[in-house]
């Protein structure tokens, strides 16, 4: 195995493989559904799901737009809050010691307990959904950013201090750029769970006609239309793959120094 093996494959090959993987899975799944005695209510064959994708396309598309908006705004809130909180905890040991346990503990609150009170505070509109997506997604950002900030070479910050840099300047010139790659890696985790967060968020109660894909999944399931639930999941999965890919790209563009290709350097 040579260095060449660590260079990414050509995009075309990657796309082919990336399509092949799911296709293989779909094939196996279809075969399994036909051979085994699993009921379509539990696990519809991919062909049924495809049919539903096509037949319900307008419903799925409309609701997808609603969900995508919830994910996007919720994630934006999560990223901003997460980075700000991580910085605050990094800058002040008192903030860190005080808020640390609360932040971790907050992750253990199951949605069904949280949702009713969020609805009480924020109503049935998009606000509680954003809050839920943000609550679920901000934690990976906080942990990854804070850990990365803690791992920054202290000599770099101290050198900047000898240059007369204040706290904010050190943050701007050293700590944030140094922590960026790992923070983006946390963001990648957040983006991937954003979809699931939005689904749960929509379980939290909706106004009439304002439900997104989560609502479709819930009502398809209780309406015992599992194929449509799976179709909605397929859309979410595709969306997640696309956004994560975009973020991986952003990672390379924003932090090129952290992704030296083999052979790039002396």
């Amino acid at each position: 195995m040579t260095d060449r093996d660590r260079r990414p494959l050509p995009l075309s090959v990657r796309v082919v493989l990336g399509v092949l993987g799911p296709l293989l899975l779909l094939g196996a799944w279809e075969a399994y559904c036909r051979i085994s005695d699993v009921d379509a209510l539990l696990l519809p064959p991919p062909s049924d799901v495809a049919t539903s994708l096509w037949e319900d396309r307008s419903l799925l598309w409309d609701t997808f737009l609603i969900t995508a908006r919830e994910i996007a705004f919720g994630l934006a809130v999560a990223l901003v809050l997460g980075v700000v909180l991580a910085i605050a905890m990094h800058l002040s040991r008192v903030v860190r010691a005080t808020l640390g346990p609360l932040v971790i503990g907050s992750q253990a609150i199951p949605l069904p307990v949280l949702a009713p009170i969020l609805v009480f505070w924020l109503g049935f509109g998009i606000a509680p959904k954003l809050a839920i997506v943000a609550v679920i997604c901000f934690f990976p950002v906080v942990v990854a950013t804070l850990d990365a900030l803690d791992r920054v070479d202290p000599d770099l910050t101290r050198l900047l201090r000898t240059m007369g840099a204040g706290r904010w300047q050190r943050l701007r010139w050293v700590e944030l750029p140094a922590a960026l790659p790992a923070a983006l890696s946390g963001a990648k985790i957040s983006v991937a769970i954003g979809a699931i967060a939005a689904v749960f968020a929509e379980y939290a109660g909706t106004e009439q006609g304002a439900g997104g894909l989560g609502h479709v999944i819930q009502s398809a399931q209780s309406g015992l239309a599992t194929d449509r639930a799976f179709a909605a999941v397929a859309i979410l999965a595709a969306f997640t793959i696309a956004t994560t890919g975009a973020l991986a790209l952003a990672q390379r563009l924003l932090a090129p120094w952290a992704h030296r290709r083999p052979g790039d350097s002396p």
């Binding site: 101290r158 900047l160 240059m163 840099a165 050293v174 750029p177 790039d264």
Partner: protein, 244 residues
């Protein structure tokens, strides 16, 4: 002033005065605590005991400590920007400096795209660009070839003539110490103590640069070398933990 790293006393009771505009060269066995001393002086480390008036000083550390995410231009411009210069002005000044050490072509290269000697020059420029009355240089020319090294030495002396500052220079090159220092301080093995002070009497009048063959330089070299040798031998004989 005492500084321990782990269980090891690294510095113990060093007394060092740098007169205004004086160049003091520090020489000592590897691992004796020269870098530690420099970093204490600049406030990069803190003493465990004793007091130390930290001087606002410009530091060129031994590991170059360039910021990997900044181009060489921006690394050099950094102290200027921290001092309040605009991005444009700071970059322009940095580019001018880079030209002087023949790195103009590499203004936009990131540190990981530079050779060892190139990185050292960038780090050197960054320290020079930091406007302080004391300049601390930790083996500034260690990774440079003989010619480049001489040129930079001359350039540094010229710059100090233009804008005099005190300099604390750590070097393992005895000749370099004699060529640059007004006074050479020789440290013994860890915990570092001053074992000899060698004044260098060669003048610097009318823009002339000292030559390695100048009698006072040759003389200073010999004395520094002897002091260093004696210190290391004494250290070993005393059975204190040796440091080569």
């Amino acid at each position: 002033m005492v500084r321990r790293l782990g269980a090891l006393p690294v510095l113990d009771g060093i007394d060092l005065d740098v007169a205004p505009h004086e160049v003091v060269a520090l020489v000592g066995p590897s691992g004796c605590g020269k870098s530690t001393l420099l970093e204490l002086v600049c406030g990069l480390q803190q003493p465990d005991a004793g007091t130390l008036r930290v001087h606002p000083a410009a530091l060129m550390p031994q590991r170059d400590l360039l910021l990997p995410w900044l181009s060489s231009r921006d690394n050099v411009a950094l102290p200027l920007r921290l001092a309040g210069a605009s991005r444009r002005a700071a970059r322009a000044a940095a580019e001018e400096l880079l030209e002087r050490v023949e790195l103009g072509r590499f203004a936009r290269s990131r540190p990981d795209q530079l050779s060892g000697g190139m990185r050292q020059r960038v780090s050197f420029l960054r320290a020079l660009a930091t406007e302080r009355d004391l300049l601390c240089l930790d083996e500034p020319f260690g990774a440079l070839d003989a010619i480049t090294r001489e040129e930079l030495r001359h350039w540094l002396v010229d710059r100090l003539r233009e804008r005099p500052r005190s300099v604390l220079l750590v070097t393992h090159d005895v000749e370099e110490a004699a060529l640059l220092g007004d006074r050479v301080v020789v440290l013994g093995p860890r915990p570092a103590r001053v074992v000899a002070e060698v004044p260098v009497t060669a003048g610097r009048a009318d823009g002339r640069h000292r030559e390695a063959t100048d009698a006072p330089v040759v003389d200073a070299r010999r004395r520094i070398h002897a002091a260093l040798h004696a210190a290391i031998a004494a250290g070993r004989a005393a059975g204190t933990e040796a440091t080569a």
